[in-house]
């Protein structure tokens, strides 16, 4: 466990929400956050659109009506 991370001043480098029961439109702008590298959404019921952006890791899997836009999308279905 790192002891000193108080110097960090980023905003969402990883957002892992997979495997819940979340619903509603996923705010597309989140994938444009400059520091966001990891986004996991599979196993929810989000709708809307996500783009690959600069993400290193994105998992969408089964979501009710969530469209993926970008080079990373082929691996998602």
């Amino acid at each position: 466990m790192p002891r000193n991370c108080s110097h960090l001043k980023f905003y969402f480098t990883a957002l892992r929400l997979a495997g819940n029961g979340m619903t509603g439109a996923f705010p597309a702008a989140i994938t444009s956050l400059p520091n966001l590298k990891t986004l996991t959404l599979e196993g929810n019921a989000f709708t809307g659109t996500v783009s690959c952006g600069s993400l290193d890791i994105i998992t969408i899997g089964k979501n009710d009506d969530l469209e993926c836009v970008g080079d990373c999308c082929d691996e998602q279905k």
Binding site: M1, P2, R3, C5, S6, L8, K9, F10, Y11, F12, T13, A14, L15, R16, L17, A18, G19, N20, G21, M22, T23, G24, A25, F26, P27, A29, I30, S32, L33, P34, T40, F46
Partner: protein, 186 residues
């Protein structure tokens, strides 16, 4: 280091930090351990400790860093007394065999920078994080947390890594929140 944590640690009057991670410690944390009230940092990760974390931990009023992940603790509730240690900034109890309703007192740990309670069987809602405005890393994955994500979480400028995977969280994400708007306007 092997064996049990020496009970004599409780006699120490100037001890500020204990780093016993990745030793081969066995047995329970002795009750006298919590008498070492000058302690600010305790790291007991990756041992084979058994028993439970005593509510006497509240005596460690100077504690900033406490982590005891990946041990062989008995099934236990997260003691409500932990919320009395308002100095805590780092709390790591990943895979600590924690079960049941999380204590309401977690909301009192408003200095929290890093909280890792992943891989337990904790239940309850996430309202306690609403006051964690200094949080950098929040790992609550692989539990039974329910309810919605408090809207405040999206506004915390230091929030870096959020892991809520594999719980029973419902609801959505606000379509527009201040932090997102600020970033998009830069």
């Amino acid at each position: 280091m092997e064996g049990t944590i020496p009970a004599s640690i409780g006699n120490a009057t100037k001890l500020r930090a204990i780093d016993m991670q990745r030793q081969k410690l066995t047995g329970a944390i002795p009750e006298s351990f919590y008498d070492a009230t000058t302690l600010r940092e305790i790291d007991l990760d990756y041992n084979k400790l058994t028993g439970t974390i005593s509510s006497s931990i509240a005596k460690l009023t100077n504690l900033v860093f406490f982590t005891a992940s990946e041990n062989n603790f008995d099934e236990q509730n997260l003691p409500s007394a932990i919320g009395e240690i308002t100095s805590l900034k780092y709390l790591g109890l990943d895979s600590a065999n924690l079960v049941g309703q999380r204590p309401d007192s977690l909301k009192d740990l408003t200095r929290m920078i890093l909280l890792d309670l992943s891989n337990n069987e904790l239940t309850g809602d996430l309202s306690f994080v609403a006051g964690y405005n200094k949080i950098v890393s929040l790992a609550l994955d692989d539990n039974g947390f329910s309810g919605t994500i408090p809207s405040e979480l999206w506004e915390f400028e230091d929030a870096n890594t959020i892991n809520l995977e594999n719980n029973k969280i419902a609801g959505g994400i606000p379509s527009s929140f201040d932090g997102l708007k600020k970033l998009m306007s830069k």
